[in-house]
């Protein structure tokens, strides 16, 4: 599936919730269902400090695709991270660089991306794109 197909899929999934509580409960479920990240990857290097909640982001490059793994100490942040990974992971650097993440807006979680929320999500998306740019650079040099 393309990045946009995944985004549309998520938007559809979220369309059944008609109140914020069900929606956030689902985000919490997503967080709880996330595969546990290797403890070694929760290191200083992978830490994105968002003042209030911490985010760890790891990336590797395999078969021309970027594979992300991440975690957060705050559960809602983590749930949203799981969505971001579902959307962006396993795509080519090019695709990731050009991705327009409209789904957060559509499912009504946009506010979580406000810089003021200091939950590290914004910095994380930036970091994901940075990884993609870096791998892309590498590809070109080959």
């Amino acid at each position: 599936m393309t990045i946009n197909e995944i985004q549309d899929q998520i938007i559809e999934e979220f369309s059944i919730f008609d109140d914020w509580m069900d929606k956030y409960s689902y985000v919490i479920d997503l967080a709880n269902d996330m595969p546990i990240i290797d403890i070694n990857k929760k290191n200083e290097k992978n830490l994105i400090n968002g003042c209030q909640s911490k985010v760890w982001l790891d990336a590797k490059f395999k078969d021309n695709k970027v594979i992300f793994a991440a975690d957060s100490d705050a559960i809602i942040t983590k749930g949203i991270i799981s969505l971001l990974i579902r959307v962006l992971s396993n795509h080519s650097p090019e695709e990731i660089i050009n991705a327009n993440l409209y789904f957060l807006d559509k499912i009504g979680l946009r506010e979580n991306l406000s810089p003021n929320r200091s939950n590290g999500l914004n910095a994380m998306i930036k970091q994901m794109k940075m990884y993609a740019i870096a791998y892309n650079q590498k590809l070109k040099q080959l």
């Binding site: 509580m21 909640s53 100490d73 559960i75 942040t77 929320r117």
Partner: protein
Amino acid sequence: MNFNINKIRQDFPILRQKVYNKSLIYFDNGATSQKPQQVIDVLNDYYLKHNSNIHRGVHFLSEKTTQAYETARKTIKNFINADNDYEIIFTAGTTASINLVAYSFAEKFLFEDDEIIISEMEHHSNIVPWQIACERKKAKLKIIPFNNNGELILDEYKKLITQKTKLIAVNHISNSLGTINPIKEIIKIAHSNNIPVLIDGAQGIQHQKVDVKDLDCDFYCFSGHKVYGPTGIGVLYGKQKWLDALPPYQGGGDMIKSVSFEKTVYNDLPFKFEAGTTNYIGAIGLGQAIKYIDNIGIDEIIKHDKKLIDYAHKKLLEIPEITIYGQAEKKSSIISFLINGIHHFDTGMLLDKMDIAVRTGTHCTMPLMKHYGIEGTVRASFGIYNTCDEIDILYNAINKIIKMFKK
């Protein structure tokens, strides 16, 4: 002089604001307070009709504004029972007030190996200025510890005092724990060793009776925006003998008597410390805010605070999953807590969804968080317009959150 909560709530237009279509419950008073219509009206009135730069103006408007500015100074002087108008310096806020003293005091009185004492529960604004001063002068910072209830350990404080101690700076009320510190006793001990004391009153002025003569403090600092006044204005109270002794902090207009390239003569108090155009409309608004709470009566406010904090404690302690940080015997209307297993940020975010504004995080008191080994708390801090009914709503909201996480 009687506390009419309905009347008070009506004075604050923002409480009628809808957030996510419901009425706002504002429990973030520790960060900043809302403003009564009376204060907003004065600001408006000055901008609409009287605005003019103060002092030295030859014209009518300047005269009128200057008078209002100086009257605000007098209002504050009377409110905190200072000896003289000119012991009230208008600054940009608590942080600016503390930085002023930290700089000017260090410049004149702090030397290599000297010591300054602060506490483990200070706000960064009462830590970093002293760190900077100590680094500049190669002096040492010493720390009064607190016990797990969130109370300063006075015996340890006494042990910290040496011949080298030059100043002690502590907060009146902890913005993270709500502890009302025994500042009168702290000051007495310091003075018996001839050491001056600065009180960070950012959370004190709106919750406690502040009588600088009775306290005998050397400096008392507070912010307008936390005491129902406008942003960008604060106060430094200083005893005349100290303000006279300190060199000026900032240079500029109004703080000098005469300037030449050879020799500049500084102005008298309070102007020596009010360089440049001050936030004069802010000061006039602050005067109005002080009048407003003085009118309600600080004793009534203390009673109301006590009712709220006692009720909040009682309700929150009914929830087994809750840990409260700071259970000092003397405590004002700030309550910091965590729901076991739930990140403070998640709690804050979900409370926001339920129209309850709290603050989460370290509240600019990282060393305090380190004491408890935590990364932050959820903090509900109350103002004069808050009610027990609102605490009930908080209580229900917390239970809802716990349920969301349990299922």
